[in-house]
Amino acid sequence: MKINEVILQSVSKIVVFIILTLALYLFFAGHNAPGGGFIGGLVLASSFVLMLLAFDIETVKKGIPVDFKLVAASGALIVLLSGLGATILGEPFLSQSFAYFDLPFYGEVELTTVTIFETGVALAVVGVVVTIILSISEDV
């Protein structure tokens, strides 16, 4: 008898969205609450893992036609370049800066270069974790 994964797949569809939202939340919350690039990236990656578990590689790849190695590389590149960015301004390597702005309707907003850095981190984490898992799975 063939396995019918309808239950798992249906539930996973919902769960994945919850995880994705959570991942984004954690990513942005990181500066002032638990979270940040690493955790955001890791949680994001675990949503991919869940999709791969519930569905299969071909389906997931069709849905997200991205070379995750390059995602990882882009992440790493962003991290490095954000560090070098400061040196162009004559600051020490990896200097971050932050400032507060008042946006209409939205209120006070903190903008910081760390976010760029963290974006790189998150991308790299997602890229790497998915690359590893995909590589092994494809070997089967």
């Binding site: 008898m1 396995i3 239950i7 798992l8 539930v11 919902i14 769960v15 919850i18 959570l22």
Partner: protein
Amino acid sequence: MNENVTFELIGAILILLGSIISVISAIGIIRFYDIYTRAHAATKTTTLAVLITLVGVFIYVWLGEGYMSVRLMLGIVFVFITAPVSGHLVLRAAYRANVKMADETAEDELRPVLFKESSEKKEQEREDQ
């Protein structure tokens, strides 16, 4: 202020209730005979325990501290929908991995369907020989 304490107390009692149920379900996991019956303890009672606890905490912080936590709410929903799936998956896997059912088992309509092909194949082989 008093009102808050009341709500906090309600929350706390719910939490306590949850914890008691959780202990009971843990005992169940030890006491039942086979994986299939243990899953009943796991998927139902434990879920209930965690739900009660989370609701208790939710009430505690919402009505007691005035903070409505979306994350907690999400957590409750999440447990609600994933717990049965976990039970379903593990049992299916166990069954397909040929984990024995308890001797008390009365009837089994799945076995003939699931292992039909393989038993047929075996017979085929026997005939070939």
